[in-house]
Amino acid sequence: MGNKRNKILLVILASLIAVLFLIPLLWMISTSFKNDYEAIAGGLNWFPKNFTWDNYTYTLLSQAIDVPIFKWMFNSIFVGIAGTLIIVAIDAMAAYGLARLDVPFKKVLFPLFISTLMIPFVITFLPLYMQFSNLGLLNTYAALIFPYTANAFGVFLLYQFFRGFPKELEEAARLDGANKWDIFIRIVIPSARPVLWTLAIFSFMQIYNDFLWPLVATNTPEMRTITTGIAIMQQGSFVSSYGKLMALTTIATIPILIIFLIGQKQLIKGITQTGIK
C-alpha cells in the first residue's frame, strides 16, 4: 500500500532530522577526546586519530587556578537544588493558600502575582544587582539563589492543580480535628507530588542553565556557576583550545542531560499545562 510506503519515507525523514539534532552533541564529545592540534587541523574524523583523555584530566585535575571546575559544578548544583527546594516549598504553600484557604486579599494577591509573569527579567536585573551590591551580597550564594524564588510561574502552575483537588479529603481530615498545616503536609502535598516534580525540574533547569544573572551577580572565579565559568574560559585561557573547551562543555552538560531524561515526562506536562517558557 502507498500508505505503508509513506510511513517508511516519514521514518527516514524523521531519522535524518534526528541525525541533524544529534550531530552537534556527538561532535562535542568527539572533539573532547582529541588533542588541540588534531581539533584545530579540522577534518571530519569522528573517531580521534590520537584518542586522549588529556582534556578531561587537565580540566578536572590540573591545579590551574582559573579552572576550579569542581567548584563551578558544586556551585551550579548547590544553587540549583537550594533554589528549587525553596521555590517548591513557598510556591506550594502560597498556591494552596490562594486556591483553598481564607487568605485575606487573595482576590488581589493572585492577579498581582500572575500579572508579573509578563514582566521580563531585563527590567529587574539591574536594580537586583544594585540591591545585592548595597547589601554587600554580590558574589554570594544568596545572590545566586533568591532572585529566582520570586518567579510566579510555580504559584500559577500549582494554583491550577489545587483548584481541581477534591475537597472531600480535606474535609474528612478537618472533621478528625487536623489543622490547616497538618492537612497541607499530610494530605495535600503527597497527592500533589507529580506536579511538584514538574515544578522542581523546571526550576532546576532554569537555575542551572541561567546565564545573564550569574554573570553579573558574581565576579570571582570561585563563585562562578558552570555556565558562566565555561563562557569565561572560552574568552580566557581556553580560547580556541577546542579539545579542552569541549571536555568542559561535555562535563557541564552531563548532569542536566540526566535530569532532563529522567524528568522529560514532567517537563512536557508542565509545558502543555501552562505553555510558559
Binding site: L25, L44, P104, T116, M118, M130, I256, F260
Partner: protein, 312 residues
C-alpha cells in the same frame, strides 16, 4: 449572648485568616524583595544620573529617557540600533521557530506510535543544554577553518563560509543555533494541540476524498490557530531576550551588526557604569515586551471562550 457568639466568630475568623495568610507569607516576602522592590528601585535609578563610581547620584527627572529619544545623543543610537538588531533577530527567527516547530510536530504525529517517543526525545534534547554550551559548541562547529560544517562543505568542493564573521552568515548562524536549541519546546506545544483535533473530523474529510494538504489547511490549521498565535508570541518574547548567543558566538560582530539591545544595556551598565541610563533603556525594552504580552493576552482570551463553547 448572640453578641458574644458573633464576637467569637469574628475572633475565629481573624485567627483563621491569619493562619491562612502564613501560607502565602514566605512567597510574598520573596515576591516583594526580589520582584516588587526591584521594579520600583529600577524606576528610581532611571530618574537619576547614576554612575557606579560616583558617590553622588543626582535626580535628573526624565532626562535619561529624553536622551534616548534625542536622535543626536549616543544613548539614542545605542538604544535604537540595539532595538533594530534585536528586531532583526526576532524577524529572522520567529517564523522559523513557528513553522519548523509545527513541521516537526506534524511529522511526529504521523509516525508509527512506537517511534514517536524516541524521536520526540531527540528533537527536544538540545533544550536541556545551557546557552553557553550551545554557543561555544556552535562557535566550534561553525569555525571558518577548523569547523565541522566548513570541512564538510570543502569535502563537497565548496569554499569555506565565514559563518560568524560576515553577514548575512552571522545572522543565519545565530538563528540556526537558536532553532536547534529551542525548537523542541515549540514542538511540544504543537504536539499537544494537534492531539486535540477530533479524529472524526479527519475521518469525515477522508471519506469526502480530501487530500492530506486540504485536511491540513481546512481542518488542522483553523483548529490550532489559537495555539499558533500563542507560540508566535512566546517565541517573539524569547527572541527579544536574546543575549547569550550573540554575546558568545559573534561578540556582537561582524562590526556591531549583531549587537542586540540587551548587550547594549549590559555594556552601558557594566562597562560605562552608567546605571541610570541603562535602567531607562531596560525599562523601555521591558515596556515593549509587555505590550507584546498584552496583545497575546487579548488574542488568547477568545480561545478560552471557544473551548468553553465546546463543552470542555
Amino acid at each position: 449572648m448572640s453578641a458574644e457568639i458573633e464576637n467569637n466568630k469574628k475572633k475565629r475568623n481573624w485567627k483563621s485568616n491569619f493562619t491562612s495568610f502564613l501560607f502565602v507569607l514566605p512567597y510574598l516576602v520573596m515576591f516583594v524583595s526580589f520582584l516588587f522592590i526591584p521594579l520600583i528601585y529600577g524606576v528610581y535609578i532611571s530618574f537619576r544620573d547614576y554612575n557606579l563610581l560616583a558617590t553622588d547620584h543626582p535626580f535628573v527627572g526624565l532626562s535619561n529617557y529624553a536622551k534616548i529619544f534625542n536622535p543626536d545623543s549616543v544613548l539614542s543610537s545605542i538604544f535604537f540600533e540595539g532595538l533594530w538588531k534585536t528586531l532583526q533577530f526576532v524577524i529572522y527567527s520567529v517564523p522559523l521557530l513557528v513553522v519548523v516547530g509545527l513541521g516537526l510536530a506534524l511529522l511526529l504525529s504521523n509516525l508509527p506510535k512506537k517511534l514517536r517517543g524516541i524521536f520526540r526525545t531527540v528533537y527536544f534534547l538540545p533544550y536541556a543544554v545551557s546557552v553557553s554550551v550551545i554557543s561555544i559548541l556552535f562557535l566550534w562547529i561553525l569555525d571558518t577553518n577548523s569547523g565541522l560544517l566548513n570541512n564538510f562543505l570543502m569535502n563537497l568542493g565548496f569554499d569555506p563560509v565565514p559563518w560568524l564573521t560576515r553577514q548575512p552568515f552571522a545572522w543565519i548562524s545565530l538563528v540556526a543555533a537558536t532553532i536547534w536549541w529551542t525548537i523542541g519546546f515549540n514542538m511540544i506545544i504543537f504536539i499537544n494541540s494537534l492531539n486535540e483535533v477530533p479524529e472524526e473530523i479527519y475521518e469525515a474529510a477522508s471519506i469526502d476524498g480530501s487530500s492530506a494538504w486540504q485536511k491540513f489547511i481546512h481542518i488542522t490549521l483553523p483548529t490550532i490557530r489559537p495555539i499558533m498565535l500563542f507560540v508566535i508570541i512566546i517565541s517573539t518574547i524569547a527572541s527579544f531576550n536574546v543575549y547569550g548567543q550573540p554575546y558568545l558566538m559573534t561578540r556582537g560582530g561582524p562590526g556591531d551588526s549583531t549587537e542586540v539591545l540587551l548587550m547594549g544595556i549590559v555594556k552601558q551598565a557594566f562597562e560605562q557604569r552608567e546605571l541610570g541610563s541603562a535602567s531607562a533603556m531596560a525599562i523601555l525594552m521591558a515596556l515593549i515586551m509587555i505590550s507584546i504580552s498584552v496583545i497575546q493576552f487579548k488574542i488568547s482570551n477568545p480561545k478560552k471562550e471557544r473551548r468553553g463553547g465546546n463543552g470542555k
